[in-house]
């Protein structure tokens, strides 16, 4: 098949420890190789910054985002980031695009590719709604996709944990991943989703879940044990209890500590804590609300069993969407906003609320600062994944803007200068002068993801890896990102080239080709005796409670486009 030689690339590939060195990259049949023949097509990178394709490890891009589209039809015409949002008529190569926070599926694929991203992970798939998620995946072009399945408030999970049946629990999780074609275990406000069915919430790790006689801590530990028993490629992916509440940093650190005793079964973290910005709040109410980032960062600096992502806030309109039902109710009431609430039968809750982050609001200003404080106070970028929890903290199309916050203290000062004194008193960001370089940025946007999802062929440029490559219009030696941040933003907003599996999909910021992406899913093997015993239990659930039958519940092969099955062997 085709061969490509990228000449004079200024490569930044943290997985190999390469920090902006000029070299050539060889591609054959969609993979990176050591050498190519003289017939290879040549792309001259002209010394420009070259990284592996970006990997967004936590984004809401399929499934629940559709509720965001219903509730916010006016998002279709928002054009806050020209070139990456708003209404774009179809072209010969692309279909029509609309939207900003909740773009149509095609736009999601095109816009991530323009940013040089080639892989995304949908952060929450309710098992019951997994078919819909995969139907949306099918219509997101270019990108490789995977998704995390929700288990944190699931009746069968809680029953097995209460009844101390870890083997059956493992069989259920393996079956749930198969049923939803999911990649990993997502836990959202453990127990809280079930409590919300009764109009309640859980207030911490040791608060019992109504009617199940288990605590969030037990759910977390039960699922973590099973996650390692099944040798899943990703650790449990946790949205902590008490999200969005002043003082919640204590719960967050407590949750992180709980996992110190979990032994990962693979070479990766034992815990991933997601969108920590929303979980790093100090104070006791919105009146004395302040940053809790220094405390969280302090703990993370001394811990080596975990990773986290930011959930950075972007000023302007956003749409919050989460399985954390009670949080969305609180948001809607506090902000007098539109509210969507869903009960996912035996599995979880869900809510969607649009909101607006304003630099004039001291709470929003502090939220904005907390994300950056976490990124800058945690010393090791390998523990951090850059996200905005799109579109909860803001749309992913703002990533280039957010990169300038990380790379330039001057740019941060510019934003901070618009904050009130009250906001400044509640944050520590103005005293931080650290500025990330391209290498650290590459770690947070590519390399961490590759490691934490055990996808060695992604997020790096080693021979044998997928030829997903982004070339940005930046000459690393000749630019000072701390001053020339406008140039940095422009370059990251439209890659000079994005290659997906060795095919040029973006050239000079415009879409060139729209190949179909792969879907990764995990098939964990469980002994058949344990599996059949578990099946009997869920058959009862389907017969007694579910509105659908098991046959209509499973995501079948026909839903998957270019599936990649990741097989793992459970240890029993």
């Amino acid at each position: 098949m085709s061969e490509i030689l990228i000449k004079n690339a200024n490569v930044c590939d943290p997985a190999q420890g390469i920090n902006c060195e000029t070299m050539d990259i060889c591609i054959k049949d969609g993979k990176i190789v050591e050498s190519v023949s003289a017939n290879a097509k040549v792309i001259d990178a002209e010394g420009r910054l070259t990284m592996a394709g970006g990997f967004d490890g936590h984004t809401h891009s399929a499934g629940k985002i559709n509720v965001g589209r219903f509730i916010n039809p006016n998002d279709a015409r928002k054009n806050l980031v020209p070139g990456l949002s708003g209404q774009v008529a179809r072209t010969e190569k692309t279909r029509a695009q609309v939207g900003y926070n909740t773009p149509n599926t095609y736009a999601i694929g095109y816009r991530y590719a323009k940013l040089g991203y080639t892989t995304i992970c949908e952060a929450a798939i309710p098992l019951l709604a997994a078919r819909h998620t995969h139907e949306e995946f099918k219509e997101i072009p270019i990108l490789d996709k995977m998704g995390l399945s929700l288990f944190g408030s699931n009746w069968q999970v809680m029953e097995y944990i209460r009844d101390k049946e870890p083997e059956k629990l493992a069989a259920y999780v393996a079956w749930g991943l198969r049923a939803s074609r999911g990649y990993g275990v997502k836990i959202v406000n453990p127990g809280g989703g079930e409590a919300w069915g009764w109009g309640k919430n859980v207030s911490g790790l040791y608060d019992p879940v109504p009617n199940f006689d288990v605590t969030p801590a037990e759910i977390l530990m039960g699922l973590a044990e099973v996650n390692e028993r099944l040798q899943l490629p990703h650790s449990v992916h946790v949205h902590c209890n008490n999200l969005g509440k002043p003082g919640n940093y204590a719960t967050t650190i407590e949750t992180m500590k709980l996992f110190e005793k979990v032994k990962p079964s693979r070479d990766r973290q034992a815990l991933h804590v997601t969108h920590v910005q929303f979980n790093a709040y100090a104070g006791t109410s919105w009146r004395d609300f302040e940053t809790g980032a220094p405390m969280v960062a302090d703990y993370v600096n001394g811990a080596d069993h975990m990773t986290f992502d930011l959930g950075q806030v972007i000023f302007g309109p956003a749409v919050t969407m989460t399985a954390d039902g009670p949080v969305e109710y609180a948001n809607a009431r506090m902000l007098h906003e539109k509210w969507s609430n869903q009960d996912i039968e035996l599995e979880d809750a869900s809510g969607v609320v649009p909101l607006f982050y304003s630099p004039k609001s001291f709470v929003n200003a502090v939220q904005w600062a907390i994300g950056l404080e976490l990124a800058l106070l945690v010393k090791d970028p390998w523990k951090i994944m850059f996200t905005t929890d799109s579109p909860n903290g803001g749309s992913f199309v703002n990533y280039p803007e957010a990169f300038t916050y990380l790379m330039s203290a001057k740019r941060r000062e510019e934003v901070i200068s618009g904050f009130s004194k009250m906001a400044l008193d509640r944050m520590v960001l103005p005293g931080i002068d650290r500025e990330l370089d391209f290498y650290e940025l590459a770690v947070m946007t590519r390399s961490t993801q590759s490691k934490m999802y055990s996808r060695p062929e992604k997020g790096n440029l080693k021979a044998g890896s997928d030829a997903d490559i982004a070339i940005y219009d930046i000459l690393p030696g000749q630019i000072d990102p701390s001053i020339e941040y406008a140039k940095v933003k422009k370059a990251f907003s439209g890659a000079a080239y994005t290659l997906k599996d060795g095919e040029i999909v973006v050239k000079n910021g415009e879409i060139e080709a729209t190949p179909k992406g792969k879907i990764y899913w995990v098939n964990a093997k469980v002994p058949s005796a344990i599996d059949s015993a578990m099946q009997k239990d869920i058959d009862v659930k389907f017969k007694k409670y579910y509105t659908v039958s098991k046959a209509n519940y499973m995501v079948e092969d026909m839903y998957l486009q270019k599936p990649v099955e990741i097989a793992t062997e459970g240890v029993f």
């Binding site: 509730i71 916010n72 039809p73 006016n74 998002d75 015409r77 179809r90």
Partner: protein, 252 residues
């Protein structure tokens, strides 16, 4: 004064999206330039001259430009969208979204108007000498603010959801209106000379006066005595208490 006369060459079934037909875009342009302006027809764009006969008298500034539609344009949408000055006269029926986001100038319609007349209008005046359909002066789907300024006068009747999410400006209806006028509005003034059903649901702010009969007055309003407007005494209601509203609803 510049007068631009447009008449359809033949009646169209597929709607024409005329979001560029406004005085701002026509002022000072020659007949050929105006004919070359692109409009959407189905999923493709074509020059305006494909569909319309264009006649021009004079050349002048935006304020002194008048566009006259001769005959029915009931499948031409978004006439006068974003206009800031000048005048449009429509001698026939007009399709949806006429005067959308209008900021100034005047539109006179000598016929009926389809839905979304004056949607998100911020200034200027619309006079409709016929009947209006749904969502007069309302907001774009999903927005919390519709009409913000200007005035819409309807000399006939209007259908449901008149002034939905209205935040300012004035709407006067000489005839009757349908269900739920002034729903979710947050400012502005609506005067209905005829009858109305279930007015001002979830009103946060603004004034609604109904001179005819009011059917199905919502229970979420507090009666607070009477108020006299232009020599007529009305019962005064305040609400909608469901949303902590301070809107004023005056009925007979």
């Amino acid at each position: 004064m510049q007068v631009v006369r447009l008449s359809l060459k033949e009646a169209n079934k597929i709607p024409i999206e005329a979001d560029d037909i406004n005085p701002d875009n026509f002022a000072g342009k020659t007949e050929e330039e105006i004919k070359a302006i692109q409009v959407w027809y189905g999923n493709s764009q074509y020059p305006l001259g494909e569909f319309f006969n264009v006649k021009i008298e004079g050349s002048d500034s935006v304020e002194n430009t008048k566009i006259v539609f001769e005959g029915d344009v009931s499948r031409v949408k978004r006439i006068g969208q974003n206009m800031s000055a000048g005048e449009i006269e429509i001698n026939g029926n007009v399709d949806m979204h006429c005067g959308f986001n209008m900021r100034g100038g005047k539109i006179v319609i000598n016929g009926d108007a389809d839905s979304w007349l004056g949607c998100e209008m911020a200034g200027g005046e619309i006079i409709l000498n016929g009947n209006a359909s749904y969502y007069v002066g309302s907001g774009y789907r999903g927005e919390s603010c519709g009409m913000r300024g200007g005035k819409i006068t309807i000399n006939g009747n209007a259908r449901d959801y008149l002034g939905e999410h209205m935040c300012g400006g004035e709407i006067l209806v000489k005839g009757n209106v349908g269900l739920l006028p002034a729903i979710s509005n947050n400012g502005g003034k609506i005067v209905i000379e005829g009858n109305a059903t279930m007015p001002a649901s979830e009103m946060k702010n603004g004034t609604v006066i109904i001179k005819g009969e009011t059917s199905d007055l919502l229970p979420s309003y507090k009666e607070e005595g009477t108020e006299e407007v232009e020599g007529v005494t009305y019962r005064k209601f305040v609400g909608d208490v469901n949303v902590g509203g301070k809107g004023v609803l005056l009925i007979k």
